[in-house]
């Protein structure tokens, strides 16, 4: 079956090359049948890569260790669900996932535009097939997911223990969907420039895909943050890791684009800015993909792969030079049709918001790539850590939240000062009330967090006012009861009110970030059973050690041979709050030199954190048990010297008993963080708002089938537009 998989890749490459040629020939020679054939090449690519994906999935689920990727990332003891997801845990499998998702989304985009934008779509087809061909070529020539070894090893290495976490199963598909969806607006943007059709239609065609890219990237980023917080042993959700930043940058420029495209739709302005944003977003998405595959990063996210760096650099260079050339050469047709009517207008606020978002992106870009470039040039390792990022991103984030509260209460085109004064009263009052309340509560030690809370309250006030006034207006017009008026208001103005809900979600998320990072209580110390420590308002007592031995083929567990942990009792003011059991799993290694017993626990240990999460605070713990004490090492050494591999688990049992009977002092990491939960809730609210904003008016069925709603006759339209 590996042969079928590789044949699919070769066939996909041929289809890409043909499709590029057919699309370009079709559009240049005015032969629509060739453009159509090119479009069908994208469908064929999706079909062929689906077969390839199926072949690889079957190999993983069937434990076919003849496949190198299966042997390197899966095992018989890996639970089935994780085995299914292990397909994309390797460089090769993730390339296939990327190409497959891109082909699916491209097929959808080209299907939806099959009757319009013929020339733009033809160029877009060629570009999308170019991306597809690039990734398929990487697999064919550099990183073949269907490479095999004969005879096949009897067992695989197993999935990286850090990836045995539910959100890690869907984090890559979500993130890659976001990345690949970014290529759709890029391709159509380039197509519009190549076809010299930069008016309203191409923007309308790609708007939902830009929104979908934003949504999926956001979900992927949030899932990654959740995994980092819940699985990794450092207790944080965002570390300004290069790969995290790489996913955030296209999300920021994508957010800017979703705002500024409204200005282009309404006023025919910002054409150069918008097309530049679209091209930048697509390029940043590819750069993000490059970072994890180039071998320049040593990170949990990275796949290594030194051989892939050069092809990616060439592709990125081509994208950047091509984008700059087209924008500069088409600048005459990208002139704005109108000017800004007033500085006091929603257009101005959107412009300011765009500048902040792009500024944030630039800061992150600089902080991410400067150390890498510096190291490449000077040979000396350079690093830019969280304090550097926080210094510049926090003020920008504050401005962003403030603007997200100002925008909703300002009119399009122009607003008067009198109107603005009246509209700002309630939101301002909310902000000031929040300030007063926090002052009374004594929450003043962290001024930046205080400012964020007040700005968030301002946002809640402004959006709340919008919903209130809009519902009131709807009731006055349609005499509907309150709940129906609210639903009608949102249904008839999905973009606006969906966007408002996104603003609420982002404000909630930033409240969670500000609170959890500014008011966190942390403690790292060594405890013996019976000892306690105080962390914030909580008393944490180390009750007793725990050990769990996992038989080698127990598929219900995380795959560790043995986990050493500790039972903790958490109380507040004498009242029991939670019982926590953090542990550290010790995994088998392939190093025979470690001995029969040593190799059972000589692999990379993985922390399994324990936390008590609530709406108001999280109590988070991690443990680093010491199994290197002289008495425990003696057991391991004795086992290595006397026991064959098949009986080595006996020594593990002795080790466990010794640990329980004479537990050594154990290193604990405690964190009490307020409002962490609201980060995830804020993300969910923002995602829900995004879904509402991109929901088509007639429903998805009508949108996909593109039923032609009867267009009003010209006379009726004119009567409706002309004032009596």
């Amino acid at each position: 079956m590996a042969g079928l998989g590789f044949a699919c890749l070769v066939l996909a490459l041929v289809v890409c090359v043909y499709g590029i040629g057919a699309s370009l020939y079709g559009v240049r020679s005015g032969r629509p049948e060739y453009s159509e054939s090119g479009r069908r090449s994208v469908y064929a690519l999706a079909g062929v890569l689906s077969v390839a994906m199926l072949v690889l999935e079957i190999a993983f689920l069937g434990n076919d260790f003849a496949f190198n990727t299966v042997a390197d990332t899966s095992s018989r003891t890996t639970p089935e669900l994780y085995r299914a997801a292990a397909v994309w845990s390797s460089q090769e499998g993730s390339l296939l996932l990327w190409a497959w998702l891109m082909s699916l989304w491209s097929s959808l985009a080209l299907f939806l535009t099959r009757r319009r934008l013929r020339d733009v779509a033809a160029y877009a087809t060629a570009i999308l097939l170019g991306f597809g061909g690039f990734f398929v070529a990487l697999m064919v020539f550099y990183a073949n997911p269907f490479a095999t070894t004969h005879p096949a090893p009897p067992e695989g290495v197993g999935l990286d223990p850090l990836l045995r976490f539910p959100t890690m199963m869907i984090h890559p598909p979500m993130l890659y969907s976001g990345y690949t969806l970014c290529t759709i607006p890029f391709a159509f943007g380039m197509g519009a420039l190549l076809a010299r059709r930069v008016d309203a239609d191409w923007i309308k065609a790609i708007r939902r895909f830009a929104f979908a890219a934003w949504l999926f990237l956001g979900i992927g980023i949030l899932l990654g943050a959740l995994w980092s917080y819940s699985e990794l042993g450092w207790g944080g959700y965002w570390g300004w890791d290069a790969v995290e930043n790489a996913s955030l940058m296209p999300w920021l420029t994508g957010t800017a684009f979703l705002h500024s495209l409204m200005i282009q739709e309404k006023r025919g302005m910002l054409k150069v800015w918008n097309v530049s944003l679209v091209l930048a977003t697509g390029t940043l998405a590819i750069m993000g993909t490059f970072l994890v595959r180039s071998g320049i990063l040593d990170s949990i996210h990275a796949f290594g792969g030194h051989t892939l760096g050069v092809p990616f650099v060439c592709l990125i260079a081509l994208m950047i030079t091509g984008s700059i050339y087209l924008v500069v050469s088409r600048r005459e047709m990208l002139r704005s049709e109108h000017r800004l009517d007033s500085l006091l207008s929603r257009e101005s606020i959107f412009l300011a918001n765009n500048l902040v978002l792009v500024g944030l992106c630039f800061v992150i870009l600089w902080g991410t790539y400067f150390p890498l470039i510096s190291e490449a040039l000077t040979g000396q390792e350079a690093s830019v850590g969280p304090p550097w990022f926080d210094r510049y991103t926090v003020p920008l984030a504050l401005i962003l939240v403030l603007l997200s509260g100002i925008g909703p209460v300002i009119a399009w085109r122009r607003a008067t000062f009198a109107n603005a004064r009246r509209n700002f009263l309630a939101p301002l009052a909310c902000g000031l009330l929040a300030l007063a309340g926090l002052e009374i509560a004594g929450v003043t030690q962290k001024p930046l967090a205080l400012v964020m809370f007040c700005f968030a309250a301002f946002v809640f006030g402004s959006v709340g006012q919008e919903f209130f006034r809009g519902t009131r207006a709807r009731r006055a017009m349609a005499s509907e009861p309150l709940p129906l008026a609210l639903l009608s208001l949102v249904r008839r103005n999905r973009r606006r009110y969906g966007g408002y809900i996104v603003h609420i979600g982002i404000a909630v998320l930033f409240v969670g970030v500000a609170a959890s990072s500014s008011f966190q209580h942390a403690s790292q110390l060594s405890l013996r059973p019976g000892q306690s420590t105080r962390v914030g308002a909580y008393e944490i007592r180390y009750v007793r050690p725990t050990v769990t031995i996992t038989p080698r083929y127990d598929e219900a567990h995380t795959g560790s041979t043995v986990s050493f942990g500790g039972l903790l009792d958490v109380t507040k003011n004498g009242h029991h709050v939670a019982t926590l059991n953090p542990s550290e799993g010790f995994y088998a290694s392939e190093e025979a030199s470690q001995g029969s017993v040593g190799s059972l626990i000589g692999g990379q240990p993985v922390s399994h954190v324990a936390m008590d999460a609530s709406l108001t605070r999280n109590v988070w713990t991690a443990i680093e048990p010491d199994i290197e004490t002289p008495s425990l090492k003696r057991i391991i050494t004795a086992g290595n010297n006397t026991l064959p591999p098949s009986e080595a688990l006996v020594a593990i049992a002795y080790l466990a008993r010794a640990y329980l009977q004479h537990p050594p002092p154990t290193q604990f990491n405690f964190l009490v963080s307020p409002l962490v939960f609201w980060i995830w809730i804020g993300g969910l609210i923002a995602g829900g708002g995004g879904l509402i904003a991109m929901w088509p008016a007639g429903g998805w069925a009508a949108y996909l089938v593109r039923r032609r709603v009867a267009v009003r006759s010209r006379a009726r339209a004119l009567r409706g537009l002309a004032r009596a």
Binding site: G3, G30, A200, D201, E265, L721
Partner: protein, 108 residues
């Protein structure tokens, strides 16, 4: 097993070719059905395509203009625009929409 793989591969190749080449076969059949090449029709195709593109752009602009008119009304009803400003803006927007409709009509 190897025979099955070869068979599946060949079937996949055949299916891909069928799907991808179908438009070219359709076009060849329609050309063969005509009596000679209609030169006049062929020369009008690029202009027709441009006209269709122009109409599509205008239709997108029309929908955006209708949305702007609704947004302006909502801004007025939610107190963000004074009545005087709203009437001015609304008149401008309606005039712009009528101009777009006229352009669409002319294009058709």
């Amino acid at each position: 097993m190897a025979f099955l793989v070869v068979l599946l591969t060949l079937a996949l190749i055949a299916l891909v070719i069928l799907v991808v080449v179908a438009p070219l076969r359709r076009e060849r059949h329609s050309e063969q059905a005509k009596d000679g090449v209609d030169l006049a029709s062929a020369s009008h195709q690029p202009r027709r395509a441009m006209a269709v593109s122009r109409i599509a752009d205008l239709e997108a602009a029309r929908e955006a203009k209708y949305r702007e008119i609704r947004d302006a009304e909502l801004d007025f009803r939610t107190g963000k625009l004074s009545r005087e400003d709203y009437e001015l803006i609304d008149a401008d927007l309606r005039a712009e929409a009528i101009a777009i409709l006229n352009d669409i009509e002319a294009g058709n």
